[in-house]
């Protein structure tokens, strides 16, 4: 039996119709090739999120988001560390940046080890809650 391609629009359409017909609210499938999430809203419309890995089975990108609204800083304000060039390998507890509110700093870490590939927010700019700050590639 061949593997189902969950990124195929025809497969997604079929699954969406099947979920709607069965009055199922949604589904989420994680496979080595990527992730598929379908949420059926009340008005019969579906929200579909598909996330395909760059290298199937080995690496998946993850977004590190702002835990709070505030000013985004990448380096510690004491000047002890400078923003490193990307991509950069990181460990789970490493502080990638801060959300600054007045004189208070909320450290932001990835929570998992991997490689920071992209900076997604403007440094020293105001960011909202949940704003993407970094993209990291996580070794699975």
């Amino acid at each position: 039996m061949s593997a189902i391609d969950f990124s195929d629009p025809a497969t997604i359409a079929f699954l969406t119709d099947a979920l709607t017909a069965a009055s199922v609210a949604g589904l989420e499938i994680s496979a080595p090739s990527g992730q598929l999430r379908i949420v059926i809203s009340g008005a019969g419309e579906a929200k579909i999120g598909s996330n395909r890995s760059v290298q199937p089975g080995s690496v998946s990108p993850v977004l590190v988001r702002a835990p709070l609204a505030g000013y985004f800083c990448v380096a510690h304000l004491s000047g002890s560390a400078e923003a490193s060039s990307l991509p950069r390998a990181i460990c789970a507890t490493e502080v990638l940046g801060f959300i600054r509110v007045g004189p208070v700093l909320l450290p932001v870490s990835a929570g998992r080890s991997g490689t920071v590939t992209r900076l997604l927010a403007e440094v020293d700019a105001m960011v909202g809650y949940g704003a993407p700050l970094f993209e990291i590639e996580v070794q699975s």
């Binding site: 709070l68 004189p103 450290p107």
Partner: protein, 331 residues
């Protein structure tokens, strides 16, 4: 409860000191960097004057005997928790059995460990500070020793610290415009002329114009400064008079002495200047060998700096509380 696993000499329990008893010969004691004590305590949720550990000789290690919030403030070194590097000026949670380690900081002299609930040693004459000269207060009136087990107060009502920590832009950076740095790297300390300033030639020119060095004969009681001696125009016999931290006296040898946290309560040497109170924490963080230059200040300037520092402290208190409450609500 915490247990001291490793310590150098002269590390003590200190809070903001024991003022009000100089008239009976009791030094005020208290932290050499009171601003670090206040910010550390505020970040963990304590009253700003709760007792902390003042660490001035390294390496230092302690083990947490119960889950605790803690901050290492004042220092420019990165503390280690179970070998993992943390940020200074940042509150974290420690689990039972975790070991906090402080290594020699790169440039500054002292680190302060504030713990949620505060270091719970007996309060004597209104303070938990160790009086090394009087052998009382703090942990049995003496410096910390390996194997000491020290109680920590209850954390009742303290908001949780976010898992990734909660820090501050440290005072030297946040208040940079009020604490200028010199071009040649020497520490600029503001001072006001004191009682016997007029005894010195040329309005104390030799004192104000040279770069002094903190000599090795310096400790929590006072810093002796090395440089070209400054001598008074006439030798005066003075009765002993009260002195406070920040007073700079000139003994007959001409090399000034800055009174620090464990200052004598009285002295008879002529007083040339007094360091403004808001610059004392910077002196408290200056190591032996640090080069100093004194800058003539004014009451208005001293007051303006005091207000800026007070506003920074209040901002840290208000904002850190708001962030903790917001994150707790979202959790």
């Amino acid at each position: 409860m915490i247990e001291i696993v490793e310590t150098g000499p002269f590390n003590t329990v200190q809070d903001l000191g024991r003022p009000g008893y100089r008239d009976i010969g009791v030094s005020a004691s208290g932290a050499m960097d009171p601003l670090a004590v206040k910010i550390g305590n505020i970040l963990v949720g304590n009253a700003e004057g709760a007792a902390t550990l003042e660490i001035q000789t390294f390496p230092f290690r302690l083990i947490f005997k119960r889950r605790s919030a803690f901050v290492v403030s004042g220092t420019d070194g990165n503390p280690l928790l179970d070998g993992i590097e943390l940020l200074p000026w940042c509150a974290y949670n420690a689990e039972v059995g975790q070991v906090l380690e402080l290594k020699q900081p790169p440039k500054l002299a002292r680190a302060y460990v504030a713990i949620g609930g505060g270091v719970d040693v007996p309060c004597i004459m209104g303070s938990r500070s160790t009086s090394l000269r009087g052998n009382f207060g703090g942990n049995a009136g003496r410096p910390l020793e390996k194997g000491d087990r020290i109680a920590v107060g209850e954390e009742a009502g303290i908001l949780p610290i976010p898992a990734s920590g909660l820090g501050v832009v440290e005072p030297a950076v946040a208040l940079l415009e009020f604490f200028p740095r010199s071009a040649d790297g020497s520490l600029l300390i503001r001072a006001l002329p004191a009682g016997e300033h007029k005894l010195f030639v040329g309005d104390g020119e030799a004192f104000w114009s040279q770069t002094w060095r903190i000599s090795s004969r310096s400790d929590r009681t006072g810093y002796r400064l090395s440089g070209d001696p400054v001598v008074p125009m006439e030798i005066v016999e003075m009765r002993s008079h009260g002195v406070v931290p920040g007073v700079i006296q000139v003994p007959p040898g001409g090399e000034p002495i800055v009174q620090m946290s464990d200052a004598n309560t009285a002295g008879g040497y002529p007083k040339i200047v007094g360091v403004i109170e808001c610059d004392l924490w910077r002196l408290g963080q200056a190591r032996i060998g640090t080069r100093l230059q004194f800058v003539r200040s004014s009451y208005a300037e001293a007051r303006a700096i005091e207000q800026a520092v007070a506003s920074y402290i209040e901002d840290v208190r208000r904002t850190s509380g708001q962030i903790k409450r917001a994150l707790k609500a979202m959790a």
